[in-house]
Structure formats: structure tokens, C-alpha cells
Symmetry: C2
Subunit: 109 residues, 2 copies
């Protein structure tokens, strides 16, 4: 069993994203080999890439507002909202507020 | 892509736990087949079973205080803390506060 304060995990620049960092809360380095949990932070004006990949996302918004763009439209989400982005689905997370956007994002490993 | 308000997902009684409900935010019913994300709520005085199972937990505390009991001791966690419970590790989540305890809990599928 391991525990930590999420914001104590080093924030790494998220390659290909604008003003966005990623903290790997639990992943292969911790012995997690089925799925990873990451904390993503997007500064005001920032966004993740408009992209797709062969794995899904399971997302929970902790703080701030996000415009989640998909092929079929967009959703405005805030703290307490959750999203499932299917494998190979085009998506983008855009900070739609004046403050930091924080969300958890799970991916399979 | 699917989105929803986490608290709009029906809360089911968590079998074997005391004063605890579980909301399956994303699971097999939604097309998620690698891992599931659940929102667990424990009322004051409540707790999950002291048990183990062959799969891991990845946990993020959203609200309240939790005493996370393990074989090697216990941890007092609050909002913004995160935990990794390894496969087959004995564990129990006990509400250690005066209000509701809410945490996210990911499991492999």
C-alpha cells in the first residue's frame, strides 16, 4: 500500500499540449501494471492536443471548467463531472475558465 | 464520448460494507472493458470491509477524511490524497470524519 499527496507528485510538462502538466499518481514506476491514474493541470488559456489514440480515457473533473471537444460536438464540464473517451476517438480538453483546470485521467497500461 | 454528472449515477448499496454506497461511473455497462472508475461514499461511522482481493485499487480522496487500514499500519487521508492498494493486500476504508467521505476507486476489469 502506498499513499501520497497528489500535488506532491512532480508535474511534468505534457508534450504537445499548451500550458499543461501531468502528474503520474500511479503507473508502472509504482508497480501499477493494469491502468494508470494521472492528474492533469491546464492553466487558463491552455489545452491538450486535439488528437486520438488507441486507448480510452476515464476522466473526473476536480477543479475548474473544461470544454471537452469531440468529433460529435463539445461538452462543458466542471468539478464533479466525469467523461469516458473511447479508444481512437478524437478529443481535446480546453480550459474554459479563468482559473486552473484540474482533472484526473485514467488510462489502461 | 460520454459525459455525466458523477452524483447523477445511481448509488448502490455496497454489499459487506457499513453505511457505504458505490456509483459505477464507468464500467462494462458503458463499454469500458479495461478498468472501471467508481465513486464510493461512506457515511459518518461507516466503513468498507476489512478484506483483500486479487486486484488492485487506485484511489483519490475527494471529500472527507479516511483512515485507510492496511496490514502494515494505517494512514489518515483527506481530499487531495491518493492511494495504491496492491493486489491481495488486506485493506479497509473507515470514515474518520464527521461528514461524508467520498473517494474515487479504480479497478481493473
Amino acid at each position: 500500500m502506498d499513499v501520497k499527496r497528489a500535488l506532491s507528485v512532480p508535474a511534468e510538462k505534457s508534450e504537445g499540449a499548451k500550458d499543461t502538466t501531468i502528474r503520474w499518481l500511479w503507473g508502472k514506476a509504482d508497480g501499477a501494471d493494469k491502468f494508470a491514474l494521472r492528474l492533469i493541470e491546464v492553466a487558463p488559456g491552455g489545452s491538450t492536443p486535439h488528437h486520438s489514440h488507441p486507448y480510452e480515457h476515464e476522466v473526473y473533473v476536480l477543479e475548474g471548467k473544461v470544454r471537452l471537444m469531440g468529433a460529435a460536438g463539445e461538452h462543458l464540464l466542471e468539478a464533479g463531472d466525469t467523461a469516458f473517451v473511447r479508444p481512437s476517438e478524437v478529443h481535446q480538453f480546453v480550459n474554459a475558465g479563468d482559473g486552473v483546470l484540474r482533472f484526473l485521467c485514467g488510462i489502461p497500461l
